[in-house]
Symmetry: C2
Subunit: 223 residues, 2 copies
């Protein structure tokens, strides 16, 4: 097991006993692409640290509509997989692996004991939550103030960047789930994009053909 | 100055020195109704504890559209007035007094020193942020999944409850700012409500005349 030192900025401020407790509790786990990631019997996964791959963090409304909150890439830490140990959190987020993914898992009760004993860990947890909170506030601003064409253009470019290719294999359903929109609305917008020469839709894939125009559209959404 | 003991659950876990630091730094401040509340020269107000009155916490988009995030009532603590001391926060929230309001103000640098020295204070801060985060997630779900008529009905009932009266003096503009909607949309919806017998619109005021139907509408929004 590699040292956790490079993942946790509070590491130098932990006593040797707490460093050992954290190090010996970490377990490596693997998730296959598209695998939903669930908690244990208590519904609590614990803290997940992404080593390789990509996780998607999303919510589901009572009507079953999904909305992507953010993605976690190598080096990122998932706090809400341990939301059971965060008093005050009254919402659920779900996780899925978007690629074959390897994580380090820190059991919830171990992380909780560190938070309670070390102000450095507690403040780091606050900071992480603040960063996620900021992402969600940005997203809410997008939803309230930006048109769907801008948000879809930005999403297509982001997907393309994540896989370093102009050919995307996402489905209309997946795009709709990222944006919290009905599938039909996304299909209609994609057909409009195709008519405008921005994308070419194929069976099970789409190719970005108007990257520059997509960028202009997306930048409208980022002001 | 009254003791802060009853406001802060972490009080018994502070050393006497830290208790004294917190107690002696607290200052009482008053804000008149409708007064916008601004930070000092560094833009940072510090932590505000509401003793009497009511504060509104809201955001403003680049286009100037407001959205109410939540209200703070007596006993509530405003964390984001001290967001300058929370690393990771990359969004601004604004505050205004909705009634004549008295707060206790804890300077940012004093609260920061407590967070750094005491795990109990750091964890309490996390918990407070988690509660605000949960409010915002609930709001986002509303915005994405609930129709405006439900949200407006819920808002009218909430306003009425806050002032314990069926006669509201809020303007259409203020309601629009709470909901993040254009003023014209709210006016149109209120006229529809009036036609349905839910409200009676007057000069500078409106009276809730169909509380039961408003409740049914609003409950659709809370599932």
């Amino acid at each position: 097991m590699e040292s956790l030192e490079r993942y946790f900025p509070f590491w130098p401020r932990l006593s040797t006993a707490l460093q050992n407790r954290l190090q010996s509790a970490a377990r490596e786990r693997h998730f296959a692409k598209s695998e939903p990631i669930r908690g244990g019997e208590d519904g609590c996964l614990g803290l997940l640290l992404v080593k390789f791959g990509q996780l998607r963090v999303f919510t589901v409304s009572a009507e079953g509509k999904e909305l992507t909150l953010y993605r976690l890439l190598p080096g990122d830490l998932c706090l809400f997989s341990a939301s059971c140990i965060l008093p005050g959190i009254r919402f659920d987020v779900l996780l899925s692996a978007e690629q074959d993914t390897t994580v380090l898992q820190i059991p919830a009760q171990v992380y909780r004991s560190l938070m309670q004993e070390s102000a450095a860990v507690a403040n780091y947890t606050s900071e992480l939550m603040a960063a996620h909170f900021s992402d969600v506030m940005w997203l809410m601003d997008q939803i309230l103030n930006q048109k769907l064409d801008s948000r879809l253009a930005a999403l297509l470019l982001e997907e393309s960047e994540l896989i370093s290719s102009d050919t995307l294999t996402v489905t209309h359903e997946q795009l709709a789930n990222h944006l919290g929109s009905p599938r039909e609305t996304i299909t209609r917008m994609l057909r409009y994009f195709q008519n405008e020469g921005l994308v070419r839709l194929g069976r099970g894939k789409m190719v970005l053909t108007g990257r520059r125009q997509l960028l202009i559209l997306a930048q409208n959404s980022r002001r």
